[in-house]
């Protein structure tokens, strides 16, 4: 797979998956643009990129604010021209009672907006240049069903909405040569050690409870963004090491 000369933007590099994705893309040779709200999560990646000789660019912006997203994409389009790939990872687990009737107003609205707004703002900003060029690949990061169902109602609803949003984008922009896919990770490490590059040869155990990790999800996203996946569009790909199919049921939550 040829990544050299390709430009990929990773929107949301605060957590483990974003860092891992930047690293698997950079180490494959792609020019990777990382956007995060906090510069604190970008500086270790900058240091690593410098040490490894990777092609890396970092920008800080709050992806939940359309003006800031617009500013970032204006900058990126000027500086790099159209993107080859885009992964929207922004979003987070919503802390709160999983049961809807026990959820607060704030959990509901904030959970929906934090997990959905960046997807809308970022895709809206990225699509025109891809349409004009007639190609591009987008990945939206959702969550595997079992993770969704164990979360707060707003988390579940927002991550579920992404599956349909991804399919809709794939449908709408197919004729523009743009592929859109959704990945459904199982549980992931939150803090990826940025000093440890991915171990391509590592053997993984498919376990019941824990996910297979941010690195594996990152590798899948890299595949979906690559030309190797050029016939894959509108898919929702579980990357959970079989957690969804083979695992034991979660301990039941106490329904009153």
């Amino acid at each position: 797979m040829e990544w050299k000369g390709k430009v990929v933007l990773v929107a949301g590099v605060g957590g483990g998956l974003g860092s891992a994705l930047v690293q698997v893309l950079c180490s494959a040779g792609a020019t990777t643009i990382a956007v995060a709200r906090r510069t604190g999560s970008l500086s270790p990646l900058e240091a690593l990129a410098r040490a490894q000789g990777w092609s890396f660019r970092s920008l800080s912006a709050d992806l939940g604010r359309p003006a800031e997203v617009g500013r970032v994409f204006e900058r990126v389009t000027d500086e790099f021209g159209p993107l080859d790939g885009l992964s929207v990872n922004a979003g987070h687990w919503v802390v709160g009672d999983p049961l809807l009737h026990k959820s607060s107003d704030d959990e509901w609205t904030k959970g929906l907006s934090d997990n959905l707004d960046p997807m809308f703002f970022v895709c809206r900003a990225a699509l025109p240049a891809m349409i004009a060029r007639g190609r591009g690949a987008i990945v939206l990061v959702s969550a595997t069903e079992r993770v969704r169902y164990s979360g707060n109602a707003s988390y579940c609803a927002s991550k579920g909405a992404l599956v349909d949003l991804g399919a809709k984008l794939a449908h709408d922009y197919r004729s523009s040569g743009i592929r859109v896919n959704v990945v459904l990770p199982g549980s992931m490490e939150h803090d990826v050690d940025v000093s440890a590059p991915p171990q391509e040869a590592a053997t993984l155990r498919l376990r019941d409870q824990s996910g297979v990790g941010a690195w594996e999800v990152a590798r899948t996203i890299r595949f979906l963004l690559s030309d190797e996946a050029r016939w894959v569009s509108g898919a929702a790909v579980r990357v959970d090491g079989g957690f969804s199919t083979h695992g034991k049921e979660q301990p039941s939550v106490g329904v009153p």
């Binding site: 000789g53 790099f80 349409i131 592929r179």
Partner: protein, 314 residues
């Protein structure tokens, strides 16, 4: 949403994410692996006549480009024109004021992260001011933009880019031998536009040849390119007689751009170092700029001035 995107041509197969392929089975050719791609070519002053011409000449050769312009808005139209004409050539735009050292530091730091390798650094940026102007850092604008900024940029990139792979550094200049006034580098005591401009170009030559000595063991090279008198915007503040002369004898920038692209890419010039190219011929340089003592004196003076700009905020 309005369906304003291009529809694939009839009889061809549209592959999402892969644009339009002539045949579905051309995948084999795509997968077969592409040779190590060209590293990008950095061009400063890309909005100028020579800068834009060399950018076009390199784009025609399918070389990826990084255009350095003073302002982002200034570079956008050059960039858009190139991207439209050469859609398969990567054209990047970075902005920084070469006369403003904190701006150079910031942009160069971003640049070295995003381009760990460069095929060439082509210094086309140049400025001529009629009156003495001072940058926010208290530097005379021509000395700062024509010499100090390129000095700082080159030095920063030299420190950080991969040294094992060749990078050609080319300075667009003229065979200037106007003396450098080391005691008054910022032209505070006396300022006359043309002599000050010529001195800044002398400084550029001294630096180019000092750099060439440091690269003597390869694979990096440092050379000077003289485009001849080119009809450009550079002289817009020059006295009318100079402008009239340049209009009368000046040539179009396209030829200069082609020659400059050749100097930056020709395989036969891989080991050409410390040369003064007049177009595609090798010319001779004044003794004044070949003086090693003077080259080193300017290098040290430049370092000293840069250390005073360290604390300035952007």
């Amino acid at each position: 949403m309005a369906r304003d995107w291009p529809t694939p041509a009839r009889g061809r197969v549209s592959v999402p994410g892969y644009g339009v392929l002539s045949k579905p089975d051309s995948a084999g050719a795509v997968m077969a692996g592409v040779p190590d791609p060209e590293p990008p070519y950095l061009i400063t002053g890309a909005t100028g006549a020579v800068g834009a011409a060399v950018a076009r000449a390199l784009a025609r050769e399918r070389k990826p480009l990084v255009l350095w312009t003073r302002t982002r808005t200034g570079g956008q139209s050059v960039c858009e024109t190139l991207r439209a004409e050469f859609p398969d050539v990567a054209v990047r735009l970075v902005d920084g004021d070469l006369g403003h050292m904190s701006s150079v530091r910031k942009t160069a730091a971003e640049l070295e992260l995003v381009c760990p390798r460069l095929g060439a650094i082509i210094h086309c940026a140049g400025v001529l001011t009629r009156l003495r102007e001072e940058t926010p850092e208290g530097l005379e604008r021509m000395f700062a933009t024509n010499h100090l900024g390129p000095f700082l940029l080159t030095r920063m990139l030299c420190e950080r880019l991969e040294r094992a792979r060749p990078t050609r550094i080319v300075f667009v200049s003229a065979a200037s031998a106007a003396p450098i006034h080391f005691e008054d580098l910022q032209s505070r005591r006396t300022f006359r536009a043309l002599p000050a401009f010529a001195s800044s170009k002398t400084a550029q030559l001294l630096f180019a040849f000092a750099l060439a000595r440091r690269f003597s063991s390869g694979p990096w090279t440092s050379n000077v390119f003289f485009p001849g008198v080119v009809r450009s915007g550079l002289l817009r503040e020059a006295p009318w007689i100079v402008r009239a002369f340049s209009r009368a004898v000046g040539s179009a920038a396209d030829r200069a751009g082609d020659s400059l692209a050749w100097v930056a890419t020709a395989a036969s010039l891989a080991s050409a170092n410390g040369q003064f190219f007049e177009g595609t011929r090798i010319g001779s340089t004044p003794d004044y700029v070949q003086d090693v003592g003077r080259q080193e004196r300017l290098w040290e003076a430049s370092e000293r001035i840069l250390s005073t700009t360290q604390g300035h905020a952007g």
